[in-house]
């Protein structure tokens, strides 16, 4: 039996009186890649952004149920969002480097969490850039603006930046969709390497990508959790007719 990292219990979410997520319960296993799949608009992003509480950034939402990480309910209004997000990193759909240098991007999280010692920052920056395969490409121009990197490099930089604060969980929302196929594969391979040390939740609407990456699969449809389970089981032997239809490409 696998250890659970994120336990979602009877989680419902409403935006402007519309129910977006309907009574979702699932345990997301530790140190695996969990793919959240489903057709566009089914609530994947909303579920993902609920885990690090970015969902209520612009619009007030009403949430029911629990999302438990390390024994704490992240939906608790009193939760320390800064510490939550330090522990739950996020890599966005399109690369979003900060308007800073490459180096300052990587160590940004460390700095806001109070680490200023130069040697500690340097060490960590190199480690993180190494682990996303970017070090050899940028080590001689760390002071250049991050915006000068290619999109693929920027996205790996964002990954490195997320790793720098030593999270346990990485949330990826279609993290490769803005990239060319080669850069996309690059990121996928890095995520596979990283799963020994991190719990990764990966949203995608590309089935082939889910098949390549996932150890565990969560299938959402119209805000409902239709089916979840180990990837090989869901992909080879789906139980719900809707999952079957989705895997056969009926919903596109």
């Amino acid at each position: 039996m696998n250890e659970t990292e994120i336990s979602i219990k009877n989680f419902s979410l409403y935006i402007e009186n519309r129910q977006i997520l309907k009574n979702i319960s699932v345990d997301i296993p530790k140190n695996q890649i969990t793919a959240i799949i489903g057709p566009s608009g089914c609530g994947k992003t909303t579920l993902l952004r609920s885990i690090n509480r970015m969902v209520d950034l612009y619009t007030p939402v009403l949430a029911e149920g629990e999302i438990i990480i390390n024994g704490k309910n992240v939906l608790d209004p009193d939760i320390n969002l800064s510490l939550l997000r330090k522990n739950v990193g996020m890599i966005a759909q399109a690369p979003n480097p900060l308007p800073l240098s490459i180096y300052d991007n990587v160590v940004y999280g460390l700095r806001i969490h109070g680490i200023h010692e130069r040697s500690a920052l340097d060490t960590r920056a190199e480690q993180c850039l190494q682990s996303v395969g970017l070090w050899s490409e940028v080590h001689d121009r760390l002071k250049d603006p991050a915006s000068q990197l290619s999109l693929g490099q920027q996205q790996r930089l964002c990954l490195a930046r997320a790793l720098a604060v030593e999270p346990e969980i990485l949330l990826c929302d279609e993290t490769t969709s803005a990239l060319d196929p080669i850069s996309a594969r690059h990121i996928e391979n890095e995520l596979i390497c990283l799963k020994n040390d991190y719990t990764i939740v990966f949203v995608t609407h590309i089935l082939r990508q889910a098949k390549r990456l996932a150890d565990y699969v969560v299938f959402l449809y119209l805000g409902e959790l239709v089916e979840h389970g180990p990837a090989h089981e869901v992909f080879t032997n789906p139980q719900d007719p809707r999952t079957k239809a989705y895997l056969e490409g009926v919903f596109g």
Partner: protein
């Protein structure tokens, strides 16, 4: 007529108004120059600008009181308006819940459309008595209330809606994803504002401030109503002042029999125009330089 030739005709028809507006500026400068000729030929330019004696009947036209009056009132207004407007814009753009934002914004837009004379009346009814009866006595100063402080306050109230809406627009140009990059790492809202929003937009903010200055320099009516209009170089905010726009508005058409008076006012207008144009050019220059640096 073919589609192609029609397009060329339309292009030249549209060209005319576009060029006309730029020509207008040149025409204004040339006319003002030409009309200022008489006063400019009486004394070297530096003497005119730095002399503080304004006695038209005696033929003394020193512009220093008006230049200093303009600078004092404008500077005071901007010192008051800049922090308030930037903080308000940051609040509206980065903190306010949509409902509060959607309530406050139309009010601010409305405020910027109110005719200047109403702000002037507001100043006379509220600010002047306040300064005369409360602020000045508190500091042991005797003031009629008609002074730089009153002008600066009224002017600050007038420019701050524009400063708020412009800087709000500038802050909104920062994509959400970039704020989220900081927030997602555990940054607080204020840290995201400091490290992302302000970092990304400070060129725009500087340009907005400079544009605010040029607006403030030219504002006439409301300031004229409360600032006292005494042609003396001021030495404290409780002194009256006589900014350039007030000089022109108050006196044009009067006492025109005095020799050179007409030309003297034209030169005042030219000065004002020059100041405003210089500030506008500065705003553009700052934007250009800072964009390049980025």
């Amino acid at each position: 007529m073919t589609r192609y030739s029609r397009d060329r005709v339309i292009s030249s028809v549209l060209f005319v108004p576009a060029v006309f507006s730029s020509i207008l500026l040149f025409v204004m400068v040339i006319v003002l120059f030409w009309k200022s000729e008489a006063i400019l030929s009486t004394k070297p330019l530096v003497d005119l600008l730095l002399s503080s004696s304004w006695r038209p009947v005696a033929g003394n036209f020193g512009y220093l009181p008006f230049i200093m009056g303009t600078i004092w009132v404008t500077a005071l207004a901007m010192i008051l308006a800049i922090p308030i407007s930037l903080l308000s814009a940051i609040y509206l753009s980065e903190y306010a819940p949509p409902r509060i934002r959607d309530t406050i914004q139309p009010v601010i837009d409305l405020l910027s459309g109110i005719p200047s004379v109403i702000f002037g009346l507001f100043g006379i009814l509220l600010i002047i008595p306040l300064i005369k009866n409360s602020v000045a006595p508190l500091l042991g100063i005797n003031s009629s209330g008609y002074c730089i402080l009153a002008g600066g306050l009224v002017l600050a109230i007038m420019v701050f809606p524009i400063l708020i809406s412009l800087s709000f627009e500038v802050f909104q140009t920062v994509p959400r994803e970039m704020r989220e990059a900081a927030l997602g790492l555990g940054a607080t809202n204020w840290e995201a504002v400091k490290h992302v929003v302000l970092k990304k937009t400070y060129p725009g903010v500087i340009a907005v401030i400079i544009l605010g200055f040029s607006r403030a320099f030219g504002e006439t009516m409301a300031v004229l109503m409360v600032v006292g209009n005494v042609a003396r170089v001021p030495s404290s905010v409780f002194d009256p002042a006589y900014p350039l726009p007030a000089l022109i508005a108050n006196n044009y058409g009067e006492m025109m029999s005095i020799p050179l008076y007409d030309s003297a006012l034209m030169f005042a207008a030219l000065l004002l125009l020059a100041i405003v144009v210089i500030f506008n050019l500065m705003a553009q220059y700052v934007l250009m330089i800072l964009r390049k640096v980025e």
